[in-house]
Symmetry: C2
Subunit: 397 residues, 2 copies
C-alpha cells in the first residue's frame, strides 16, 4: 500500500491483515463457496435462511405509509419495542432514548468507540478475541491493549485487567458469550470486574466505560444463565446484533443500548451525541426495512438444539482422537488445541481433505483453532474422518 | 454535552447543530409527519414508494442460496453489473474491483474520507452545500474549508478554489447536480478545474483528490447533459446513492467508484484498502438484500416529469410574487432568495400556514431557503397561497 492511503487505514489494515489474508488470499479463499467443502471457518450459514426471516422481510417490504423508506434515524417504534423487550430479557428498565439502531453489532461497536474515545486513549480487549476490535480502534487513533484471558479456563483475568489499566484507559471490552471460547462469565465474576473498574476509575481519576459485546447473548447451551455487565456496572454500553441468532450476518440490524443504571447526566450526554456520531460514521443507522422488521425478528432463532447436538457430536468424537476443547457454554464456536501445535500445518492437513477451519493465528493464538458449528449435521459427519486423519498425521505416535 | 463524549463527536455535533436542531428541536420537528403539513424540507418521499422498489425487495428477499444472507463485503455480482452499467452511463471503462458497495452515498463519502484523509488534512467543500460534509470531516480531525460558489450563478469559482488550496489540502468535493442550487457544471468548467487541480497538486507537491458527490446524477431537467468529474480529472472518486433517484433514502444502497483514468498503482492501493476502511467504519458494506437487488434497481426512477412540472409550476407562480430562484438544472430542490431577507421570519410565516421549508441558515446561507420538489402536486397547490401570503407579509410594499 503506497502513500495514497491515509495513515488511519494503513493502521487498520495492519491490524486486520491476518483475517483479511485468510478471507481473501488463502487456500480457503480459493475454495470458498464450493459445495464440496466442509466449511467451519466463519459464522456464516451453511443452510437456507430461517423462513421467519424471509417472511419478515417480505412482509415489511410492503409500505404502510408514504414515509416507509424515508430517512430513518433511531426510530421511535423499534426503540420502544426494544426497550420493553430488553427490560424483560435483562431485568433492567431500559428507556427507548437509550437505544441507537445500528447496522449490526459492528455498527454499534463503531458507534460506542466514536462516542467515547479520543485519539490517544486506550481500550482493553480480550485475547483471544474477535479480530476486528483492533482495526476499528487503530483507525480512530486509539490503542488496543490485548489482555489475556485466564489460561485454560478463559475466565476474565482480573489481575491482568487491573495491571493493564493506565492513565489513558477509557474502556474495557467484555465479550460474553465469548468468541471464540464460548465462555459465559457468571455474575460473581462480573461483579468483581465492576468493583475493579470502580476502583480503577477512581485511581486514574477518569471514568472507565465497559462495552458489553453480546451478540451471542441468546445462543447458549444447557440452560445456562446470562448476566449482562450492564446489570452490574453502570457505565456499560451493550452492543447487540441479530446477525448471529438469525444467522444472517449480511442483513445488518443491531443496536447500542446504554445501561439504565448509568447516571442520567451521562446517559443524556450520550443520547444527544448519538445523531452526530452516527452521522459522522456515514449515516450509520439501520435501514428502514430492518427497523420496521424488528418486532418480527425478535423471537426468531436458529436451531440451538442443532448447535448443541453438533457441539456434543464433535467434542465427543474428536476428544477420543486427542483433541482438547474448551467446552462452550454459548456462541456457535468450538475452540480447541491444534494437534501437534502448528495451526498452519493443521489447517493444511484438513484443507487437503476439503475441510476448512479457522487457524488460531487469525485470532492471535496460533496453538489453537476455531470451528463454527453453523455447519450442517451432514457436513459434520463428512468432516469427522478428516479430523481423525489430521490428528493421526500431526500427533507424534 | 459534558466531557463524557469524545472530542471528535463534540466537533461533529457542533458542525451539525443547525440541521440537527432543525430536524429534532424546531417547529418543523414538532409537526413532522402530520398529514396536514405541506412538507418541503428534506429530500423525503411525500407519496408511496415506487412499486418497482417494493417488487425488487420482495423478489430478492427470497433466498436463492444458503449464503444469501451470509456476510457480504463488496460482492462480485453487483460490482460486475455496476462496472458495466457505469461504463455505458459515463462512457468510461470502469472495472469491478474499483467499486465499493456502501450503505448509500453517505457511506461512500465516509469511505472516501477515511481512505484518503489523515488528521490535519484540509478538504474544500462548496458553500452553499450539503450540511454533513463538515461534520464527517470534523470527526476525522480534518478541516473543512468552505469555498463559496460564484455568487448568482453558483458556478464553481475557480479563483476561489485556487486561493483556498494550501499545503495541507488533500481533497476537493464537487457536488453536481448541486444541492441546493440544482446547478450542473458543464464539461468546460470541469476541465478548467482539472487543470487547476493538476497545477495546484504540483505546486503543493501533493496529489489533490476530487470527490465527485453525484447522487442526483440521474435527476436532470430539460435533457441537460451530465459530465462526471471522473471523466476529466483522473484522481476522482465518485460517490453515488440510489436513495435520491428511488426516493428511498432510508433503504441505504450506493457505491464508491474510482475513476478508471486514475493510475493503476493508485487504484490498486485504494482497492486493497477498501476492506480495512469499510471494516473500520463498522462494516460499512451494503446489506445482502440491497446488493442482490442492484440490477433491478438500476433502471428505476421517480417521476422526473413530475419534478419538472412542480419546478415550473412553483417557479412560475412564485416569481410573480417576487420570489427569485436559481432555476435548477437537476436535483429535486429549488433554492431561492427569502422575501425580506430574514430566513427565520420567512420560515415562521410559512409554518404559521402549515407550510415548511428549509431555512437557508441550515445551509449556512441565511438569506436563502430551500424547497424540496418531492412534494406532491396537491401539496404544491395547497402551499402556493401560503407562499403568496408570506411574500406579501414580508416584502416591503
Amino acid at each position: 500500500m503506497n502513500a495514497v492511503v491515509s495513515d488511519r487505514v494503513v493502521a487498520a489494515a495492519a491490524s486486520l491483515s491476518a483475517v483479511q489474508d485468510f478471507y481473501f488470499n488463502s487456500r480457503y479463499a480459493e475454495r470458498r463457496g464450493d459445495p464440496a467443502l466442509c466449511d467451519f471457518t466463519f459464522g456464516n450459514p451453511q443452510e437456507f435462511p430461517l423462513p421467519g426471516l424471509v417472511q419478515a422481510l417480505q412482509k415489511h417490504s410492503v409500505p404502510l405509509s408514504e414515509s416507509w423508506y424515508a430517512y430513518k434515524t433511531n426510530e421511535a417504534e423499534p426503540r420502544a419495542f426494544l426497550a420493553d423487550s430488553l427490560t424483560r430479557e435483562l431485568d433492567l428498565g431500559f428507556e427507548p432514548d437509550d437505544i441507537a439502531m445500528t447496522p449490526g453489532a459492528f455498527g454499534a461497536i463503531a458507534l460506542a468507540f466514536r462516542l467515547l474515545l479520543s485519539a490517544g486513549d486506550e481500550v482493553l480487549i480480550p485475547l483471544p478475541g474477535w479480530f476486528c476490535y483492533g482495526s476499528m480502534l487503530s483507525a480512530e487513533g486509539v490503542a488496543a491493549v490485548q489482555v489475556p484471558l485466564t489460561p485454560g479456563t478463559f475466565d476474565l483475568d482480573l489481575a491482568a485487567i487491573d495491571a493493564a489499566i493506565g492513565p489513558r484507559t477509557r474502556m474495557v471490552v467484555v465479550n460474553s458469550p465469548h468468541n471464540p471460547t464460548g465462555r459465559i462469565y457468571p455474575r460473581a465474576q462480573l461483579e468483581a470486574l465492576a468493583e475493579l473498574l470502580e476502583r480503577a476509575s477512581a485511581r486514574i481519576n477518569r471514568r472507565i466505560f465497559l462495552l458489553s459485546d453480546e451478540p451471542y447473548r441468546r445462543i447458549r447451551f444447557d440452560g445456562i444463565a446470562f448476566v449482562s455487565p450492564a446489570a452490574v456496572y453502570p457505565w456499560t454500553l451493550i452492543d447487540y446484533s441479530y446477525g448471529k441468532v438469525l444467522l444472517a450476518p449480511g442483513q445488518r440490524i443491531g443496536y447500542l443500548a446504554l445501561s439504565p443504571l448509568m447516571p442520567l447526566a451521562d446517559r443524556k450526554a450520550l443520547r444527544e451525541a448519538f445523531f452526530a456520531a452516527q452521522c459522522s460514521l456515514g449515516w450509520s443507522f439501520a435501514s428502514a426495512l430492518m427497523q420496521h422488521a424488528v418486532p418480527d425478528l425478535e423471537n426468531l432463532a436458529i436451531d440451538i438444539a442443532g448447535l448443541t447436538r453438533r457441539r456434543d457430536r464433535m467434542v465427543g468424537a474428536m476428544s477420543r482422537w486427542g483433541y482438547d476443547f474448551v467446552r462452550p457454554e454459548g456462541t456457535f464456536y468450538l475452540f480447541g488445541r491444534v494437534p501437534g501445535g502448528d495451526d498452519e500445518r493443521f489447517f493444511n492437513a484438513l484443507a487437503d481433505r476439503d475441510v476448512f477451519v479457522m487457524p488460531g493465528s487469525v485470532l492471535q493464538t496460533p496453538q489453537y483453532f476455531r470451528l463454527c458449528l453453523t455447519a450442517s449435521d451432514d457436513m459434520v459427519e463428512r468432516a469427522l474422518p478428516a479430523f481423525e486423519a489430521a490428528a493421526a498425521q500431526l500427533t507424534p505416535a
